[in-house]
Symmetry: C2
Subunit: 306 residues, 2 copies
């Protein structure tokens, strides 16, 4: 099983030669997701050798250009390269209104099925589920309606402890209930707790994405207990006022949300182009939330190893 | 006086790490123009140290994404960086319909005046004129309505040959007519030809842009006599069939148009990503039109020195 994210763009609105604006590739147990798609994302995907034809779902947080201006280009390139596989885009309801004329006036009919699904910007909602993963959207707090995303591994069937099979005289017909976490009644009439005879499962991993947003307790509640959080920290502490006036976060804001939400590991990104290196962000994060990392373009984080 | 073009993207529809898709910066006597604006153009402008806030006019040839998907991002960045100067965009009439919602839903009102002007896709038309330059658009022949552009230096007032002032007893009141190419009548009653007493003017430079298009005699007529031509040569001769079916040109097509239009220097570009280097294009161009150059990203051509 695998669960990794690749930061395709760690910068805020202004692209520079060191930082592209926001996009992330998420591989959760071979489900291939793209979160946001700034201008230049198709080239970043190529640069980091990610096969974008495998993507099945794209999640667009909001309609500031640095989060989606690369989407029309990516769709065109997918089409030119012969894509046939369906693609689903989750985003603000206006996104379809914006993209359809770009595709229509370009004159090329897409050879693949493109589905648009509108995000609910008021409440947390499950937007995708299959046998091994669930994805939720939830409202963030920004200048325009914006959604965060939470990608969760679903519980897998428990594994029977082989040494317990003989000890309890377990039969095949018992296995399904035990694997699903149900106690059973043995032939002897005795209750056998599933916990006694199954191996302790690994902790389920989950990844929360919060960009762009200011610090919010509601956001912290929506992602409570996620193992990993990407939270924007556009600004350093000294620029807190600027963060407030632009509905963005500082390093401390991001750390506060991570603490409130009981996060294990925090990644901060969406770094303003005014900061030339990660040094000051790293210095502040060490102070506010030690188990953290400051994003840079190309950073790949394997959640199973953190 | 100066007249130069910088190729910001020499590639066709698929961006690669070696070639970005189409955009060009034209500096004609300190008039600052952008022709086409593919995804990534704002970064190319930065890379080649072109101050994009100086741009006054953008000319968009057609609505294939590899010619304009970078425009919304460039406008947003201009705005974020405090632009106040008006910008005029010439393009297909649908361009405004496409761009306005992108700017509107992003929530930021532009702090500068943005004008859209629709191109006539049926006939050649002068679309811009000031005291030193004229710009024309004219129809190309492609899969969707597409315009080419022709940027011409206007004649400057002739210079009086100083040695002739005394010889012909020229007076200040004669100068204006002579500088404007009109003969005068001297005090003696004799006609004085302006050609006798003025210096021979330098040849006026002009730059024609033809991408995307298939070979066309009508196009050659529209640009007849231009000194410099950028013509797409997406394909090599061996791929002539593919060029025909996609309404693009080969090296030979581009050369044929240059010959028909009596062009001095030809630049070919919009090179398909199937060709990894310029070598084969250069080899073919040497054969078909010796005074030519194959575009690459970052190429700057000073028309006054060619």
């Amino acid at each position: 099983m695998n669960f990794s994210i690749t930061i395709l763009g760690s910068g805020a609105a202004l692209p520079t030669k060191n930082r592209m604006p926001t996009a992330q590739y998420v591989n959760c147990n071979n489900r291939h997701f793209l979160i946001d798609c700034a201008e230049g994302t198709q080239l970043q995907l190529r640069k980091y050798k990610i096969n974008f034809q495998k993507l099945s779902h794209v999640f667009i947080s909001h309609l500031h250009g640095d989060h989606y201006f690369g989407l029309a280009g990516l769709l065109s390139t997918m089409n030119l390269l012969g894509r046939e596989k369906e693609l689903t885009i989750f985003g603000p309801p206006e996104l379809e209104t914006i993209l359809k004329p770009m595709l229509f006036y370009g004159g090329a009919r897409l050879a693949f099925n493109l589905k648009f699904k509108s995000l609910n910007r008021i409440v947390k909602e499950m937007i995708y589920e299959d046998d091994i993963v669930k994805v939720f959207s939830f409202p963030l707090v920004h200048k325009i309606p914006t959604s965060g995303f939470l990608i969760e591994e679903k519980p897998k069937p428990l594994k029977i402890n082989p040494s317990m099979i003989e000890a309890y005289n377990l039969k095949i017909e018992h296995f399904k209930d035990l694997q699903n976490g149900k106690d059973i009644i043995l032939d002897s009439g005795e209750v056998c707790s599933f916990e006694k005879v199954t191996l302790k499962p690994k902790k389920l991993l989950s990844y929360a994405y919060c960009s762009d947003t200011k610090k919010s307790e509601t956001v912290a509640k929506a992602i409570y207990g996620a193992t990993h959080l990407y939270h924007e920290a556009t600004f350093l502490i000294k620029d807190q006022k600027r963060a407030n006036s632009t509905a963005h976060s500082t390093t401390k804001d991001a750390a506060d949300v991570a603490i409130q939400a009981n996060i294990n590991k925090l990644i901060v990104g969406h770094i303003s182009s005014r900061y030339k290196t990660n040094d000051d962000h790293e210095h502040e994060m060490l102070h506010f939330f030690a188990n953290s990392i400051v994003a840079k373009d190309g950073l790949c984080i394997d959640l199973t190893k953190e």
